[in-house]
């Protein structure tokens, strides 16, 4: 059947598709620091913080879906019930919450975006993207098959994926980013005053790149099996302890050269760069390591 033949059929079907979907608009009272739990299976969930003591939900529910929402000033809970849970129709939700709210979101296959929330944030996605911007008190973001992007400087961040990438554009005093095969990117160049104090960056095969501020007395650890590690230290420097079993170490941050590993294989580099004062530990099995220093 040609495209010209398909077009009229599509036009005829459009009203039915539109009728199958349902617009939703709900408002609920919630304290400024109340809790919000959102459970949606498929589609997109966009959450924004606002300066009001209420929650507003707008969006479009997929065919056969129903939105259930309720709660009190202390906490609000909502979930999308699908007519067919095995093949749920996608829904699109835009939710406004008090900016200091504690937000918990769980989805199956959905893209989640959160912005302007300064309370705590928990986001769980099986397959889909997580995009968080702003400065929440703490962030816990988990995906199985999805990318995670955090833009801002949460007080604490835990971001874990399996096959997806994990990116932090900003800084956090307490950060743990991990993935299996995705890439880990930490880019603090947009927040020059942001610093890392305690951080773990872990992958199995994914590459890890870091550029950011490091607090004096900090403890940063990088761990990967075969991913490449590229670290740009702040100009002030750090105390390095770098080990690879069968990879290579390239030190462009100082004149110190790596030595053969203590077990007679691989390479090690233990040195202070600049003023030192912050611990940076890097460990790979066979991933190549490059250490540089910001100018």
């Amino acid at each position: 059947m040609g495209r010209r033949a398909l077009l009229p059929l599509l036009l005829l079907a459009l009203p039915q598709i539109a009728a199958a979907q349902a617009k939703v608009s709900r408002s609920l009272q919630l304290n400024a620091d109340g809790g919000v739990r959102i459970h949606a299976l498929v589609g997109t969930v966009t959450v924004r913080g606002w300066d009001r003591d209420s929650v507003s939900v707008r969006g479009t529910l997929g065919a056969g879906n129903r939105l259930h929402a309720g709660g009190s000033g202390i906490g609000v809970k909502m979930f999308v019930e699908a007519e067919n849970e095995r093949r749920p129709a996608p829904s699109t939700l835009e939710i406004m919450v008090p900016m200091r709210a504690k937000v918990w979101i769980k989805t199956a296959t959905a893209d989640v975006a959160v912005s302007g929330v300064s309370g705590s944030l928990d986001v769980y996605v099986i397959s889909g993207t997580i995009d968080i911007s702003g400065n929440p008190a703490d962030v816990n973001a988990e995906a199985i098959d999805g990318n995670i992007l955090v833009r801002g400087s949460p007080g604490l961040v835990r971001a874990r994926s399996a096959s997806g990438t994990v990116s932090l554009r900003g800084a956090s005093r307490d950060a743990t980013l991990s993935t299996v095969s995705g890439r880990i990117t930490i880019d603090g160049s947009s927040t020059p005053r942001g610093v890392f104090e305690r951080a773990r960056f872990e992958s199995v095969t994914g590459d890890i790149s870091f550029q950011g501020g490091i607090e004096r007395g900090a403890d940063l650890r990088f761990d990967t099996h075969s991913g490449m590690v590229d670290i740009v230290l702040p100009a002030r420097g750090a105390d390095l302890e770098v080990t690879t079993i069968s990879g290579t170490i390239r030190n462009e941050a100082s004149s110190a050269r790596p030595l053969v590993g203590r077990y007679g294989r691989g390479a090690e580099l233990t040195t202070s760069v600049g003023d030192g004062g912050a611990g940076v530990q890097v460990r790979t099995f066979r991933g190549a390591i490059t250490i540089r220093r910001a100018k």
Binding site: K106, I126, S178
Partner: protein, 199 residues
Amino acid sequence: MTDDFTDETRSRELDELTAALPREMTPPAEAWDVIGSQIQRDGQRGQARTARTARAAAVWQHPAFLAAASLLLVAGSSAATYTVLRERSQPTPPRTASAEPVSTAVSTVSNLSEFTGKENEYLRRVSGLITIMESGDAELAPETIAKVKESLAVIDGAILEARGALARDPANRQLIEMLEATYEKKLDLLQRTTAMARS
């Protein structure tokens, strides 16, 4: 707000499930060929050692023995995983698991022989979690399970590579710590997957 992940009852159920798993599994027959060739290779390396070193080494520290033991474990691990993944006819276990933080502690074991005990515990916990993930109760989409399996295969590749290196260098604590960290990643992924499946 992570109350879904601190269910002690579910954790106990998981412990009971994993405790019920068989302690030993016979590796596949073809594994012995690999073990044999590895023993032969390591045996040739061992001949190059001085006689004094060879006499001083205890039987359990002999490279051939360690290589065989490590490969047996690897083969056993693979066999256990293979068996668990196909035992769909078994009664379905509890569908949940508690999430534990990834360990960043320095290893308390110092050589391969000590590590094998710990590795058995890892394998037991992994098998239990895979059973949960595979069960219908987990309510995971087949494509999600496939994606998780891809990641598990990546982790298994890293474990095998590090395990082979440890067999050749059994007192290397760095390797032991790396292996432990990789096993922890595998457990973490499985725990997260099974926990996420709960509504």
